[in-house]
């Protein structure tokens, strides 16, 4: 017993080092594994407070740019409204199906990163705004990512610029499905994998979300086809997608709440069993 104590006292620095390094290593490994929320994350009041203070100063510098984005979005919405007004009147509205399927909450980006293999954003909405894990996040132009961790006031988003993210997407013209991934090289491009060789792929075609999961509704923009190559097996295409969003300058985002997601999830779980 005496010897054990002596050993511990003699090597206390080494043992402390090994303990702390072990903790750091396990946190790192946890952060690399798919679909596990991080234990150490920036959705807490300390980091949120600091980023909030910085953001309240920094947001003045790109007001002009943000205004232009808003006007552009308004133009699109106005056009949709004017073009649809004539058509809608003939449809009888049944009040029993009037409840909304999707709700949208706006949020402000406090922290954005795009240069590490797994990128996260921090936003100023949390549990008290009824944000939960696995809600989709978009801007007026296209998708951003999926909610990962939430605290009371803040949440983190797993960006589509991440090795961990796989999002169901399709070609708008031919409805061919694939999954959107990122190869960590450029924040302006993502890759659409596993697209069947039988589909007609043309440079410049639009890629939109596929709507096969409860996270994103169908038909939200992602990007344009920049180039495409045949996979090493020769059966599928890997498509280089130029994203509509400039992921480096995000300020205002929208969170999509799918009111049917609970029901869909329980149904899927039933099928699995």
């Amino acid at each position: 017993m005496q010897q054990i104590f002596n050993f511990v006292i003699r090597n206390k620095t080494l043992l402390l080092f090994l303990l702390l390094f072990g903790i750091a290593l396990s946190l790192t490994i946890q952060s690399h594994s798919y679909h596990k929320s991080q234990f150490i994350n920036s959705a807490n009041s300390l980091t949120g407070g600091v980023y909030g203070t910085v953001n309240s100063i920094g947001q003045y510098f790109d007001l002009k740019e943000q205004n232009l984005i808003l006007v552009e979005e308004n133009v699109i919405l106005r056009e949709q409204l004017l073009n649809s007004s004539g058509r809608n009147q003939s449809i009888a509205i049944d009040s029993s199906f009037n409840d909304q399927r999707f709700e949208i909450i706006s949020a402000e980006v406090y922290k954005n990163s795009y240069n590490s293999p797994n990128n996260y954003l921090t936003i100023n909405r949390g549990k008290r705004d009824s944000i939960q894990q696995d809600f989709g996040v978009i801007t007026s132009k296209g998708i951003i990512g999926i909610i990962d961790n939430t605290s009371n006031k803040f949440s983190t988003i797993l960006s589509i610029l991440s090795k961990k993210s796989r999002i169901n997407a399709k070609l708008k013209s031919s409805n061919q499905n694939g999954s959107l991934t990122w190869n960590t090289t450029s924040p302006y491009f993502a890759q659409l994998e596993d697209v069947s060789k039988f589909s007609k792929v043309k440079i410049g075609d639009t890629i939109v979300t596929g709507g096969q999961s409860a996270i994103f509704p169908k038909g939200i923009g992602i990007g344009k086809i920049e180039s495409f190559t045949t996979d090493s097996t020769g059966d599928t295409y890997t498509i280089e997608v130029r994203l509509f969003n400039n992921m480096t300058t995000l300020q205002h985002v929208y969170i999509i709440i799918n009111n049917n997601s609970e029901e869909l999830k329980t149904l899927e779980n039933l099928n699995d069993e």
């Binding site: 206390k12 620095t13 080092f17 702390l20 946190l27 920036s42 980091t47």
Partner: protein, 167 residues
């Protein structure tokens, strides 16, 4: 003694804030960010308690990780650097370190450059190894580590020389 404790506490907080507010948003050439918080580990008093030093380095790394959502990458690299620091001190300053009278305020500039660049390159290699976590991407790893090491070394030397206590 009291003065040294206060200055280290202030350095801890200021470097952490400078790191997360300014340095993480530089993104020079798209991906190069300096990690200036290592200055705290570099300039921690030599004769002090090593256990306290390890715990402080770990906490500093963990706080940076919390701000960056990077798991335990910076905590791991900081604790390695803190543990391996005597080797770098011995290599760079030689006899001065052996006689236990090393003060960073008045060392010659050549030795200081050796010490800072050795420590920073060691730290950055671990950071990028843990972040990429894939040995098949070794070229990308070395490229990222090299470029951001150069950036960090220059910035660290400038900051250390700027805030040096004059005697």
């Amino acid at each position: 003694m009291n003065n040294s404790i206060t200055s280290n506490i202030i350095r801890f907080i200021v470097l952490l804030l400078v790191q997360v507010i300014i340095c993480n948003n530089i993104n020079f050439l798209g991906y190069i960010n300096p990690y200036v918080y290592v200055i705290f580990i570099l300039l921690f008093p030599v004769n002090n308690n090593r256990l306290l030093f390890l715990i402080l380095a770990f906490n500093l790394g963990l706080l940076v990780d919390m701000f960056l959502d990077s798991g335990g990458v910076h905590a791991g690299a900081s604790i390695c650097l803190a543990y391996a620091r005597p080797l770098f001190l011995k290599y760079a300053f030689g006899t001065m370190y052996d006689h236990q009278n090393l003060k960073f305020g008045h060392t010659d500039i050549g030795a200081l450059i050796m010490y800072v660049s050795g420590c920073v390159i060691f730290h950055h290699l671990i950071v990028y190894y843990l972040e990429i976590f894939n040995i098949s991407q070794i070229i990308l790893l070395l490229k990222k580590a090299l470029f951001s090491s150069i950036f960090t070394v220059i910035l660290c030397l400038l900051l250390i020389l700027l805030f040096k206590t004059r005697k």
